[in-house]
Symmetry: none
Subunit: 226 residues, 4 copies
DNA sequence: CATGAATGAGGCTTCATTCAT
DNA sequence: GATGAATGAAGCCTCATTCAT
């Protein structure tokens, strides 16, 4: 029998070990692993999983939450580092955002399947906390954005971030396909699939942000012209 | 025992009956139905499913293909109906596009889960055909777009359509959550979830197309100003 | 793979084979067997059980129903064979009843645990049918009894049968204890446990019936005396 | 960590607390609770249960013993309070017995499932003590009975009590069914299920005792008549 | 004494697919 | 062609009991 985790830290690390194992398997398989496999990968007995999580879905939410929190936490510095000129901000943000996604590589895939995984057997309690935490982080980041860009943001900071996320999700859902499938997608019009997810995303985010900033300015100018 | 279906016509109709049943169940349940249920709903025996489809995944791909083809087919008339002025085109397209999605309601959900469903046990053959067909349709629609808007499109018609699709996917993935979950998402910053998918999508598509057309023009103008 | 049971009889016999297996195991173990064991004992795969039964509990109810129906069916001839004189009827009935229980040996044990087994996950549908069938059989037997003994029964035939059953259940619950436990019950006052279930039951049933017949007559007589 | 309980008194109270908790949960749930739940309800750790009891079954036997002892203890005064005339004794006893069962409400349910629970993993030692204690109490009560009713009892006091208990068990086993199931038992011949346990039991006990007393007398009288 | 994490066998059920008829 | 019984590998979860702390 493994040594019981009695101290606070140990308790935490056991939970973390299970989450790690689950994440590792998810990355390897592309599917959310079975409880049995998670336990095996973490080196504990099947039943032990249920000491730390209420259900399989609960593990998933915990993973999602951790990933989201890290993403949001590391978003603030990026926003604060932005030059406030609308010409440069979009490009700067997009580059750093995409880089960030590379460093927190699990949010996107996890988030993209969260409907399939949570379709039933909702861990309501965990979901509530996820909502609170992510919501709070998002608000904060949104406010930061508005403060930085003032009128250009028109108090829609959180919205822009959510749209950015929408774009990310959409691209991922489209492009995260097994390599075997990718070979099949050889039609010329589907060239997009041969460019990478990150490349494509950066372009798209730049456009989105430019649309949200420069366009508005242009519109303002053209209005003032007439 | 039902009478064997031999003629081409009959072969087709058996397949179609199964696809219909599968689609109906998918809509009702929000989950891809079991083979057993599909057969029952189509009024045939379980084994019969495997006379017309190689596997469960094969059914899914067939459904996806049919939906995609209808979507693309009905996209061309919309594009051709567009006024070529960049001020009005985005709004006009977005409105009709969203309406179209309402009339071909299965593409979006089906497409959004296609990774989860097809993660393993790939029906390579079916996927190839899907690729060929969708690719061809997309190219055609893209060309149509370029022809209509000329320089504003800069030979990126297919790309714009794909980006539109990306947006659609992203929004769907984010917003298609069980009603029970939606109640949980009550954080103010998550207001987006309380607006509807279609509303939100129309706004986003308008922005995207404006970004791809008017913005470019505005940029050009502002460049010529200086 | 075992040969599929396609004909009506075969379908029936597969079901019966599973019921047999379940019953055999129940007799051997004294506990209701697991689905896995039932399947193994019947020589089929685990999943096959669910072709014929909705749930584990459903098997139990089916077993109970079959046993009850046989018991009731064989009760009628016994009742009809009874001499209508109240002096001899109780003894005659008791003897034959106890003999019958020996020939339909599963009703009593099955019935005695039916609460523990069905405490949750009620197979409502099966239970309804059980109720209808047993109820009908009981009514019939009750009527038979009343017809035979006329005023002595005062239209309480079904009740007397139910009381007989109550007695049977009670004795069984008390006396069906593992042999190991029986050795322990060596206190002189618990002599009853060393007499057998059948012996004890016969005595008790005679008393019950005498109480329901002769006593009433005696009471009548003594009333008419005064 | 709770302070060690060393003194005799404390030892006893720990045990009692666990038994209380187990009983409370059993009443609430209708099922014998899990060890984990018992511990939680008693406010101790799971492992502590095994300091005071050898096994889950051991708890059950302890509960049964306590309940039996209380029942028997409170039976003696009832017997002694009985009028010795055979006309009134049965009714008087039945009424008080049923009332007593209402005040010691756990003996009946516990006893009725004792086979299911103790089918395996017998706590032999505990069972022996249960046997000794219950046996002794029963003998005593039986003797009391015989002394009170003299020849009418014919030195079968303990037997009559055991028969009374048999009746109780039988009725309980038949009538303690989930409310949901009760709704199903709507066949007219099963009217008994719609009368309550206590009502039905009182009637039955009166009959039993009358059968054991008055009937014998009546028989004697009628014999002397002829 | 007391804790509670850890074990791991075992329970019930589902379902894509095969194959004898 | 069509049937549907049969398969059997998973899947998720529970729980009595042990044991390191």
């Amino acid at each position: 029998m493994a040594r019981p985790a009695l101290s606070e830290e140990e308790r935490f690390s056991r939970r973390a070990a299970l989450l790690d194992a689950a994440l590792r398997l998810y990355r390897e398989q592309g599917t959310f692993p079975t409880v049995s496999n998670i336990a095996k990968a973490a080196g504990v007995a099947k039943g032990a999983v249920y000491l730390w999580f209420r259900s399989k879905e609960d593990i998933f939410v915990a993973l999602l939450e951790a990933a989201f929190l890290e993403l949001i936490a590391r978003l603030s510095p990026i926003i604060e580092s932005l030059d406030s000129r609308p010409e440069s901000a979009p490009g700067a943000f997009a580059a750093q955002y995409v880089k960030l996604l590379g460093e927190v590589p699990d949010v996107v895939p996890l988030s993209s399947v969260h409907n399939s995984v949570l379709r039933e057997n909702l861990p309501v309690e965990s979901l509530s906390r996820l909502n609170r935490n992510v919501g709070a982080g998002l608000s904060e980041a949104g406010t930061l954005l508005e403060r930085r860009f003032g009128p250009l943001m028109e108090s829609r900071g959180a919205d822009l971030l959510l749209h950015t996320w929408t774009l990310t999700m959409g691209l991922w859902v489209m492009m995260d396909i097994p390599d075997e499938t990718k070979k099949i997608l050889d039609d010329p019009s589907l060239a997009i699939f041969r460019r990478g997810f990150h490349t494509e995303l950066e372009t798209a985010v730049v456009q989105l942000w430019r649309g949200a900033m420069a366009c508005r300015r242009a519109a303002a100018e053209s209005r003032s012209e007439s």
